[in-house]
Protein backbone atom coordinates (compact mmCIF):
# COMPACT_ATOMS: atom_id res chain seq x y z
CA UNK A 1 0.00 0.00 0.00
CA UNK A 2 1.29 3.43 -0.88
CA UNK A 3 2.11 5.75 1.98
CA UNK A 4 -0.61 8.23 1.01
CA UNK A 5 -3.21 5.47 0.63
CA UNK A 6 -2.65 4.37 4.23
CA UNK A 7 -4.05 7.62 5.46
CA UNK A 8 -6.35 8.44 2.56
CA UNK A 9 -8.63 11.32 3.47
CA UNK A 10 -6.71 12.37 6.55
CA UNK A 11 -4.31 15.25 6.95
CA UNK A 12 -1.21 15.48 9.06
CA UNK A 13 0.04 18.69 10.64
CA UNK A 14 3.81 18.52 11.38
CA UNK A 15 5.44 19.62 14.61
CA UNK A 16 4.15 16.73 16.70
CA UNK A 17 7.38 16.12 18.58
CA UNK A 18 8.37 12.58 19.62
CA UNK A 19 5.16 11.60 21.34
CA UNK A 20 5.83 7.86 21.28
CA UNK A 21 9.00 6.85 23.07
CA UNK A 22 10.48 3.36 23.05
CA UNK A 23 12.70 2.30 25.94
CA UNK A 24 15.40 0.19 24.28
CA UNK A 25 16.47 -1.26 27.63
CA UNK A 26 13.06 -2.89 27.88
CA UNK A 27 12.29 -3.57 24.21
CA UNK A 28 13.09 -7.15 23.23
CA UNK A 29 12.32 -6.65 19.54
CA UNK A 30 9.27 -8.94 19.50
CA UNK A 31 7.57 -6.80 16.87
CA UNK A 32 4.04 -6.87 18.32
CA UNK A 33 3.96 -3.07 18.04
CA UNK A 34 4.94 -3.31 14.36
CA UNK A 35 2.00 -5.62 13.63
CA UNK A 36 -0.43 -3.57 15.69
CA UNK A 37 0.36 -0.34 13.84
CA UNK A 38 -2.02 0.19 10.91
CA UNK A 39 0.07 3.17 9.79
CA UNK A 40 3.30 1.15 9.47
CA UNK A 41 5.01 3.72 11.66
CA UNK A 42 7.23 1.29 13.55
CA UNK A 43 10.05 -0.95 12.40
CA UNK A 44 12.68 -3.17 13.96
CA UNK A 45 16.31 -2.21 13.60
CA UNK A 46 19.16 -4.06 15.29
CA UNK A 47 16.65 -6.03 17.31
CA UNK A 48 14.85 -3.00 18.74
CA UNK A 49 11.64 -1.22 17.77
CA UNK A 50 12.05 2.24 16.33
CA UNK A 51 9.63 4.90 15.10
CA UNK A 52 9.98 5.17 11.31
CA UNK A 53 7.53 8.02 10.84
CA UNK A 54 4.78 9.90 12.62
CA UNK A 55 3.21 11.07 9.37
CA UNK A 56 0.93 8.04 9.07
CA UNK A 57 0.26 7.77 12.81
CA UNK A 58 -3.39 8.24 13.76
CA UNK A 59 -2.54 8.47 17.48
CA UNK A 60 -4.41 5.29 18.34
CA UNK A 61 -2.03 3.99 21.00
CA UNK A 62 -2.20 0.37 19.78
CA UNK A 63 1.59 0.02 20.18
CA UNK A 64 1.33 1.22 23.77
CA UNK A 65 -1.41 -1.29 24.55
CA UNK A 66 0.19 -4.35 22.96
CA UNK A 67 3.79 -4.00 24.12
CA UNK A 68 4.32 -6.98 26.44
CA UNK A 69 7.46 -5.40 27.94
CA UNK A 70 5.79 -2.07 28.73
CA UNK A 71 8.60 -0.44 26.77
CA UNK A 72 6.43 2.12 24.99
CA UNK A 73 5.52 5.47 26.46
CA UNK A 74 2.55 7.05 24.71
CA UNK A 75 1.49 10.67 24.93
CA UNK A 76 -0.21 13.11 22.58
CA UNK A 77 1.37 15.09 19.76
CA UNK A 78 1.83 18.76 20.51
CA UNK A 79 -1.51 20.56 20.60
CA UNK A 80 -2.92 21.39 17.17
CA UNK A 81 -0.57 19.01 15.34
CA UNK A 82 -0.86 15.44 14.08
CA UNK A 83 -3.74 13.79 12.29
CA UNK A 84 -7.07 15.34 11.38
CA UNK A 85 -9.95 13.86 9.54
CA UNK A 86 -12.95 15.42 7.86
CA UNK A 87 -15.25 12.42 7.52
CA UNK A 88 -14.74 10.99 10.97
Amino acid sequence: MLQKDKVLGTQWVPGTGDFIKIDHDRCDGCGDCVISCFGDCIGIRNGKAIILTYETCQECGACWYVCPENAIEFSWPKGGTGMKVEYG
Binding site: G39, V66, G79, Y87
Partner: protein, 399 residues
Protein backbone atom coordinates in the same frame (compact mmCIF):
# COMPACT_ATOMS: atom_id res chain seq x y z
CA UNK B 1 -4.10 31.83 29.81
CA UNK B 2 -1.04 31.47 32.04
CA UNK B 3 -1.65 30.62 35.70
CA UNK B 4 -5.39 30.99 35.49
CA UNK B 5 -7.85 29.46 37.91
CA UNK B 6 -11.21 27.90 37.05
CA UNK B 7 -13.96 26.24 39.04
CA UNK B 8 -13.96 23.39 36.56
CA UNK B 9 -11.36 22.35 34.00
CA UNK B 10 -12.40 19.66 31.53
CA UNK B 11 -9.70 17.78 29.64
CA UNK B 12 -11.10 16.68 26.30
CA UNK B 13 -13.63 18.53 24.14
CA UNK B 14 -15.49 15.61 22.63
CA UNK B 15 -18.98 14.19 23.29
CA UNK B 16 -18.66 13.90 27.06
CA UNK B 17 -16.44 16.92 27.65
CA UNK B 18 -18.68 19.28 25.71
CA UNK B 19 -21.77 18.20 27.65
CA UNK B 20 -19.88 18.64 30.92
CA UNK B 21 -18.65 22.07 29.78
CA UNK B 22 -22.07 23.30 28.70
CA UNK B 23 -23.84 22.09 31.84
CA UNK B 24 -21.14 23.38 34.21
CA UNK B 25 -21.22 26.81 32.54
CA UNK B 26 -25.02 26.90 32.72
CA UNK B 27 -24.75 26.26 36.44
CA UNK B 28 -22.68 29.39 36.74
CA UNK B 29 -19.32 27.70 37.13
CA UNK B 30 -16.23 29.30 35.67
CA UNK B 31 -15.48 26.52 33.19
CA UNK B 32 -12.64 25.73 30.80
CA UNK B 33 -12.51 22.97 28.19
CA UNK B 34 -8.98 22.01 27.11
CA UNK B 35 -8.85 20.29 23.73
CA UNK B 36 -5.73 19.00 22.01
CA UNK B 37 -6.97 19.42 18.44
CA UNK B 38 -7.27 22.78 16.70
CA UNK B 39 -11.00 22.24 16.07
CA UNK B 40 -13.02 20.02 18.43
CA UNK B 41 -13.96 16.84 16.59
CA UNK B 42 -11.21 16.82 14.00
CA UNK B 43 -9.44 13.82 15.54
CA UNK B 44 -12.55 11.73 16.10
CA UNK B 45 -13.29 8.91 13.70
CA UNK B 46 -15.90 6.21 13.11
CA UNK B 47 -19.09 8.22 12.93
CA UNK B 48 -21.92 7.54 15.30
CA UNK B 49 -25.59 6.96 15.78
CA UNK B 50 -27.38 8.78 18.56
CA UNK B 51 -30.26 6.88 20.05
CA UNK B 52 -33.31 9.01 20.66
CA UNK B 53 -32.97 7.91 24.30
CA UNK B 54 -30.33 10.62 24.69
CA UNK B 55 -32.75 13.35 23.59
CA UNK B 56 -34.96 12.64 26.58
CA UNK B 57 -32.01 13.45 28.83
CA UNK B 58 -30.34 16.19 26.80
CA UNK B 59 -33.01 17.67 24.47
CA UNK B 60 -30.70 20.42 23.21
CA UNK B 61 -28.81 17.75 21.24
CA UNK B 62 -31.80 17.53 18.87
CA UNK B 63 -30.57 20.76 17.26
CA UNK B 64 -27.24 19.21 16.29
CA UNK B 65 -26.13 18.38 12.73
CA UNK B 66 -27.32 14.81 12.16
CA UNK B 67 -27.27 12.86 8.93
CA UNK B 68 -29.99 10.23 8.66
CA UNK B 69 -32.96 9.18 10.79
CA UNK B 70 -32.90 5.44 11.42
CA UNK B 71 -35.97 3.28 11.81
CA UNK B 72 -34.22 -0.01 11.41
CA UNK B 73 -31.40 -1.96 9.91
CA UNK B 74 -30.21 -5.30 8.80
CA UNK B 75 -28.23 -8.14 10.20
CA UNK B 76 -26.42 -9.99 7.45
CA UNK B 77 -25.09 -13.45 8.05
CA UNK B 78 -22.59 -14.96 5.70
CA UNK B 79 -22.83 -18.64 5.03
CA UNK B 80 -21.50 -20.81 2.22
CA UNK B 81 -20.75 -17.70 0.22
CA UNK B 82 -24.38 -16.61 0.49
CA UNK B 83 -25.83 -13.72 2.43
CA UNK B 84 -28.78 -14.23 4.74
CA UNK B 85 -30.44 -11.10 6.08
CA UNK B 86 -32.78 -10.34 8.92
CA UNK B 87 -34.20 -7.17 10.36
CA UNK B 88 -32.13 -5.67 13.12
CA UNK B 89 -34.96 -3.60 14.47
CA UNK B 90 -37.87 -1.80 12.87
CA UNK B 91 -39.58 1.08 14.61
CA UNK B 92 -42.46 3.26 13.44
CA UNK B 93 -40.41 6.33 14.37
CA UNK B 94 -36.69 7.08 14.21
CA UNK B 95 -34.86 5.22 16.95
CA UNK B 96 -31.58 6.90 16.18
CA UNK B 97 -29.87 9.46 13.99
CA UNK B 98 -26.51 8.85 12.38
CA UNK B 99 -23.93 11.61 12.37
CA UNK B 100 -20.38 12.46 11.49
CA UNK B 101 -18.43 13.05 14.69
CA UNK B 102 -16.45 16.02 13.46
CA UNK B 103 -19.28 18.46 12.67
CA UNK B 104 -21.37 17.24 15.58
CA UNK B 105 -18.61 17.72 18.16
CA UNK B 106 -17.65 21.09 16.66
CA UNK B 107 -21.29 22.11 17.09
CA UNK B 108 -21.39 20.77 20.65
CA UNK B 109 -18.29 22.77 21.57
CA UNK B 110 -20.00 25.87 20.17
CA UNK B 111 -22.99 25.22 22.43
CA UNK B 112 -20.69 24.93 25.45
CA UNK B 113 -19.03 28.24 24.52
CA UNK B 114 -22.43 29.91 24.03
CA UNK B 115 -23.35 28.74 27.52
CA UNK B 116 -20.30 30.54 28.86
CA UNK B 117 -17.57 27.90 28.90
CA UNK B 118 -14.13 28.86 27.67
CA UNK B 119 -12.53 26.64 25.06
CA UNK B 120 -8.76 26.30 24.79
CA UNK B 121 -7.83 24.42 21.63
CA UNK B 122 -4.47 23.11 20.32
CA UNK B 123 -3.48 22.40 23.92
CA UNK B 124 -2.51 19.10 25.50
CA UNK B 125 -2.88 18.52 29.22
CA UNK B 126 0.38 16.73 29.93
CA UNK B 127 0.11 16.34 33.70
CA UNK B 128 -2.02 17.07 36.72
CA UNK B 129 -1.14 19.40 39.57
CA UNK B 130 -1.41 17.62 42.91
CA UNK B 131 -1.38 19.35 46.26
CA UNK B 132 -2.00 17.73 49.64
CA UNK B 133 -3.61 14.72 48.03
CA UNK B 134 -5.92 16.81 45.85
CA UNK B 135 -5.86 17.27 42.09
CA UNK B 136 -5.71 21.04 41.67
CA UNK B 137 -5.41 21.49 37.91
CA UNK B 138 -3.29 20.64 34.89
CA UNK B 139 0.00 21.44 33.26
CA UNK B 140 -0.20 22.09 29.51
CA UNK B 141 2.24 21.27 26.73
CA UNK B 142 3.02 24.99 26.65
CA UNK B 143 4.32 24.56 30.20
CA UNK B 144 1.49 26.56 31.74
CA UNK B 145 -0.37 25.69 34.90
CA UNK B 146 -4.15 25.93 34.80
CA UNK B 147 -5.68 25.49 38.23
CA UNK B 148 -9.08 24.03 39.05
CA UNK B 149 -11.30 23.17 41.99
CA UNK B 150 -12.62 20.23 40.00
CA UNK B 151 -10.91 18.50 37.11
CA UNK B 152 -13.07 16.41 34.78
CA UNK B 153 -11.07 13.90 32.76
CA UNK B 154 -12.89 13.42 29.45
CA UNK B 155 -9.84 12.35 27.49
CA UNK B 156 -11.12 9.16 25.94
CA UNK B 157 -10.25 5.52 26.44
CA UNK B 158 -6.53 6.21 26.90
CA UNK B 159 -7.36 8.27 30.00
CA UNK B 160 -3.82 9.61 30.26
CA UNK B 161 -5.01 12.25 32.73
CA UNK B 162 -6.87 9.68 34.84
CA UNK B 163 -3.68 7.62 34.91
CA UNK B 164 -1.54 10.66 35.82
CA UNK B 165 -3.99 11.43 38.61
CA UNK B 166 -3.52 7.88 39.89
CA UNK B 167 -7.16 6.81 39.71
CA UNK B 168 -7.27 4.98 36.37
CA UNK B 169 -5.17 2.19 34.92
CA UNK B 170 -4.27 1.52 31.31
CA UNK B 171 -6.65 -1.03 29.79
CA UNK B 172 -5.10 -4.43 29.16
CA UNK B 173 -4.52 -5.31 25.50
CA UNK B 174 -7.23 -7.98 25.67
CA UNK B 175 -9.71 -5.26 26.65
CA UNK B 176 -9.03 -3.35 23.46
CA UNK B 177 -10.60 -3.75 20.06
CA UNK B 178 -8.93 -2.12 17.09
CA UNK B 179 -10.56 -1.54 13.80
CA UNK B 180 -10.20 0.16 10.45
CA UNK B 181 -12.99 2.34 9.15
CA UNK B 182 -13.50 3.25 5.53
CA UNK B 183 -15.64 6.21 4.56
CA UNK B 184 -17.36 5.83 1.19
CA UNK B 185 -19.41 8.26 -0.84
CA UNK B 186 -22.21 7.14 -3.14
CA UNK B 187 -23.17 9.11 -6.28
CA UNK B 188 -26.55 10.01 -4.79
CA UNK B 189 -28.87 9.44 -1.85
CA UNK B 190 -31.03 7.23 -4.07
CA UNK B 191 -28.04 4.99 -4.80
CA UNK B 192 -27.35 4.65 -1.12
CA UNK B 193 -31.00 4.02 -0.24
CA UNK B 194 -31.12 1.29 -2.84
CA UNK B 195 -27.94 -0.31 -1.49
CA UNK B 196 -29.50 -0.28 1.97
CA UNK B 197 -32.32 -2.48 0.76
CA UNK B 198 -34.53 0.18 -0.79
CA UNK B 199 -35.35 1.73 2.52
CA UNK B 200 -34.09 5.21 3.27
CA UNK B 201 -34.55 4.74 7.00
CA UNK B 202 -32.45 1.59 7.17
CA UNK B 203 -29.29 3.26 8.21
CA UNK B 204 -27.36 0.53 9.89
CA UNK B 205 -26.09 -2.84 8.85
CA UNK B 206 -24.24 -5.41 10.78
CA UNK B 207 -22.34 -8.09 8.97
CA UNK B 208 -21.66 -11.22 10.88
CA UNK B 209 -19.38 -13.99 9.90
CA UNK B 210 -20.16 -16.72 12.38
CA UNK B 211 -18.52 -19.43 10.32
CA UNK B 212 -15.39 -17.38 9.75
CA UNK B 213 -15.74 -17.48 5.98
CA UNK B 214 -14.71 -13.90 5.35
CA UNK B 215 -12.44 -12.95 8.19
CA UNK B 216 -12.06 -16.05 10.32
CA UNK B 217 -13.39 -16.09 13.84
CA UNK B 218 -10.78 -17.93 15.87
CA UNK B 219 -11.98 -16.65 19.17
CA UNK B 220 -13.17 -13.28 17.98
CA UNK B 221 -16.33 -12.45 16.22
CA UNK B 222 -15.76 -11.59 12.58
CA UNK B 223 -17.73 -8.42 12.26
CA UNK B 224 -18.30 -5.65 9.82
CA UNK B 225 -20.59 -2.70 10.32
CA UNK B 226 -22.07 -0.19 7.95
CA UNK B 227 -23.54 3.08 9.13
CA UNK B 228 -25.30 5.21 6.58
CA UNK B 229 -25.26 8.98 6.36
CA UNK B 230 -26.98 11.22 3.81
CA UNK B 231 -25.10 10.14 0.72
CA UNK B 232 -22.17 8.34 2.28
CA UNK B 233 -21.44 5.53 4.68
CA UNK B 234 -18.85 4.09 6.99
CA UNK B 235 -17.74 0.54 6.71
CA UNK B 236 -15.92 -0.61 9.80
CA UNK B 237 -14.30 -3.80 10.93
CA UNK B 238 -12.65 -4.52 14.21
CA UNK B 239 -11.02 -7.29 16.16
CA UNK B 240 -9.54 -7.85 19.57
CA UNK B 241 -6.01 -6.49 19.84
CA UNK B 242 -4.20 -9.69 20.93
CA UNK B 243 -5.84 -11.52 18.02
CA UNK B 244 -4.65 -8.91 15.53
CA UNK B 245 -1.11 -9.37 16.78
CA UNK B 246 -1.22 -13.15 17.12
CA UNK B 247 -2.75 -13.77 13.69
CA UNK B 248 -1.04 -10.82 12.00
CA UNK B 249 -4.42 -9.62 10.78
CA UNK B 250 -4.25 -7.34 7.77
CA UNK B 251 -7.57 -5.50 7.66
CA UNK B 252 -7.01 -4.10 4.20
CA UNK B 253 -6.57 -7.57 2.75
CA UNK B 254 -9.75 -8.66 4.53
CA UNK B 255 -11.61 -5.70 3.10
CA UNK B 256 -10.36 -6.57 -0.36
CA UNK B 257 -11.83 -10.07 0.06
CA UNK B 258 -15.09 -8.50 1.05
CA UNK B 259 -15.07 -6.08 -1.86
CA UNK B 260 -14.71 -9.01 -4.24
CA UNK B 261 -17.90 -10.52 -2.85
CA UNK B 262 -20.83 -10.39 -5.26
CA UNK B 263 -23.05 -8.82 -2.62
CA UNK B 264 -20.70 -5.87 -2.24
CA UNK B 265 -20.28 -5.42 -5.98
CA UNK B 266 -24.02 -5.53 -6.54
CA UNK B 267 -24.98 -3.10 -3.78
CA UNK B 268 -21.99 -0.89 -3.22
CA UNK B 269 -20.12 -1.13 -6.50
CA UNK B 270 -20.62 2.60 -7.14
CA UNK B 271 -19.11 3.59 -3.81
CA UNK B 272 -16.03 5.81 -3.87
CA UNK B 273 -13.52 5.43 -1.04
CA UNK B 274 -12.81 8.77 0.64
CA UNK B 275 -11.06 8.01 3.92
CA UNK B 276 -9.17 5.24 5.67
CA UNK B 277 -8.90 5.67 9.42
CA UNK B 278 -8.54 3.61 12.54
CA UNK B 279 -8.97 3.88 16.27
CA UNK B 280 -9.09 1.33 19.08
CA UNK B 281 -11.86 1.19 21.61
CA UNK B 282 -12.37 -0.68 24.84
CA UNK B 283 -14.04 -4.05 24.56
CA UNK B 284 -15.93 -5.69 27.36
CA UNK B 285 -13.80 -3.87 29.92
CA UNK B 286 -16.88 -3.46 32.05
CA UNK B 287 -18.14 -6.93 31.47
CA UNK B 288 -16.74 -8.43 34.58
CA UNK B 289 -17.53 -7.58 38.12
CA UNK B 290 -15.93 -4.38 39.38
CA UNK B 291 -14.62 -3.47 35.93
CA UNK B 292 -11.59 -5.71 36.36
CA UNK B 293 -10.35 -3.64 39.27
CA UNK B 294 -10.30 -0.50 37.13
CA UNK B 295 -13.48 0.97 38.53
CA UNK B 296 -12.45 4.24 40.16
CA UNK B 297 -14.07 7.28 38.63
CA UNK B 298 -13.46 9.85 41.37
CA UNK B 299 -10.60 11.19 43.47
CA UNK B 300 -9.97 14.32 45.48
CA UNK B 301 -10.72 17.15 43.03
CA UNK B 302 -11.26 14.91 40.00
CA UNK B 303 -13.99 12.96 38.20
CA UNK B 304 -13.53 10.76 35.14
CA UNK B 305 -16.25 10.43 32.49
CA UNK B 306 -17.04 8.52 29.30
CA UNK B 307 -14.57 6.14 27.71
CA UNK B 308 -11.90 7.45 30.10
CA UNK B 309 -13.96 5.91 32.91
CA UNK B 310 -14.53 2.66 31.00
CA UNK B 311 -18.17 3.47 30.21
CA UNK B 312 -18.04 1.47 27.04
CA UNK B 313 -21.11 -0.65 26.39
CA UNK B 314 -19.85 -3.02 23.70
CA UNK B 315 -22.61 -4.44 21.60
CA UNK B 316 -25.18 -1.79 22.24
CA UNK B 317 -23.20 0.98 20.60
CA UNK B 318 -24.03 3.39 23.39
CA UNK B 319 -20.55 4.64 24.29
CA UNK B 320 -21.30 8.18 23.17
CA UNK B 321 -24.51 8.17 25.19
CA UNK B 322 -22.77 7.04 28.36
CA UNK B 323 -20.08 9.69 27.77
CA UNK B 324 -22.70 12.42 27.44
CA UNK B 325 -24.76 11.26 30.40
CA UNK B 326 -21.72 10.93 32.65
CA UNK B 327 -20.56 14.40 31.54
CA UNK B 328 -23.94 15.76 32.59
CA UNK B 329 -23.74 14.02 35.98
CA UNK B 330 -20.16 15.10 36.64
CA UNK B 331 -21.06 18.75 35.93
CA UNK B 332 -24.02 18.56 38.32
CA UNK B 333 -21.89 17.06 41.07
CA UNK B 334 -19.15 19.62 40.40
CA UNK B 335 -21.66 22.44 40.91
CA UNK B 336 -22.83 20.89 44.20
CA UNK B 337 -19.29 20.28 45.40
CA UNK B 338 -18.20 23.84 44.66
CA UNK B 339 -21.27 25.39 46.29
CA UNK B 340 -20.67 23.28 49.42
CA UNK B 341 -16.94 23.96 49.34
CA UNK B 342 -16.15 20.26 49.42
CA UNK B 343 -14.25 18.76 46.47
CA UNK B 344 -13.08 15.67 48.33
CA UNK B 345 -13.30 12.17 46.92
CA UNK B 346 -15.90 11.40 49.59
CA UNK B 347 -18.18 14.15 48.26
CA UNK B 348 -17.53 13.39 44.59
CA UNK B 349 -18.57 9.78 45.21
CA UNK B 350 -22.07 11.18 44.57
CA UNK B 351 -21.10 11.08 40.92
CA UNK B 352 -20.32 7.38 41.23
CA UNK B 353 -23.63 6.78 43.00
CA UNK B 354 -25.39 8.60 40.16
CA UNK B 355 -23.86 6.63 37.31
CA UNK B 356 -24.28 3.34 39.15
CA UNK B 357 -28.00 3.96 39.49
CA UNK B 358 -28.45 5.14 35.89
CA UNK B 359 -28.64 3.57 32.48
CA UNK B 360 -24.84 3.90 32.29
CA UNK B 361 -24.51 1.04 34.70
CA UNK B 362 -27.35 -0.81 32.98
CA UNK B 363 -25.41 -0.54 29.74
CA UNK B 364 -22.00 -1.63 31.01
CA UNK B 365 -22.72 -4.29 33.57
CA UNK B 366 -22.35 -7.95 32.83
CA UNK B 367 -26.07 -8.69 32.80
CA UNK B 368 -26.83 -6.56 29.78
CA UNK B 369 -23.83 -7.43 27.68
CA UNK B 370 -22.96 -10.31 25.44
CA UNK B 371 -19.43 -11.44 25.04
CA UNK B 372 -19.84 -12.74 21.51
CA UNK B 373 -16.33 -14.14 21.49
CA UNK B 374 -17.66 -16.83 23.78
CA UNK B 375 -19.69 -18.31 20.92
CA UNK B 376 -17.14 -17.95 18.17
CA UNK B 377 -17.39 -20.96 15.91
CA UNK B 378 -20.83 -21.90 17.24
CA UNK B 379 -22.92 -20.42 14.49
CA UNK B 380 -26.38 -21.12 15.89
CA UNK B 381 -25.53 -19.86 19.35
CA UNK B 382 -23.80 -16.77 18.05
CA UNK B 383 -26.73 -15.95 15.81
CA UNK B 384 -29.12 -16.30 18.71
CA UNK B 385 -27.11 -13.90 20.82
CA UNK B 386 -26.62 -11.39 18.04
CA UNK B 387 -30.37 -11.23 17.57
CA UNK B 388 -30.79 -11.08 21.32
CA UNK B 389 -28.41 -8.14 21.55
CA UNK B 390 -30.17 -6.48 18.66
CA UNK B 391 -33.45 -6.11 20.49
CA UNK B 392 -31.89 -4.61 23.57
CA UNK B 393 -33.10 -1.13 24.40
CA UNK B 394 -30.75 1.41 22.99
CA UNK B 395 -29.37 -0.61 20.14
CA UNK B 396 -30.95 1.17 17.26
CA UNK B 397 -29.24 0.39 14.07
CA UNK B 398 -25.79 1.30 15.23
CA UNK B 399 -23.18 -1.32 14.65
Amino acid sequence: MANQKYDVVIVGGSFGGCVAGKVAAEKGLNTLIVERSSVPGEKVISGAALSTVIFQHLPWLMEGPVERPIHGGWNHFLKNGQVQTSNLMVLPFPGAYTLYCRPFITWMAEQAVKAGAKLLTSTVATDVIKEKGFVKGIVTDAGEEIRSDILIAADGMWSLIGIKAGIRKKFAAEDIFNGVWYDFEMPSKEDLDEALGGNETYGGMSWWDPAGEMVGTHGVVGFFGVAAYKTSFHFGMGMAMPYIVEKRVNFDQLYQRFFRHDYWKEHFGKAKLRTRMWRPYPLYCGLERDMKGNDRTTGNGIMVIGDAAGFEPTGTGMGIHTAMLSGNMAAEVAADAISKGDTSDAFLKRYEEMWKSSLIYDAINERSRRDLTRWAGDEAEMKRHILDVAIMPGLTAVF
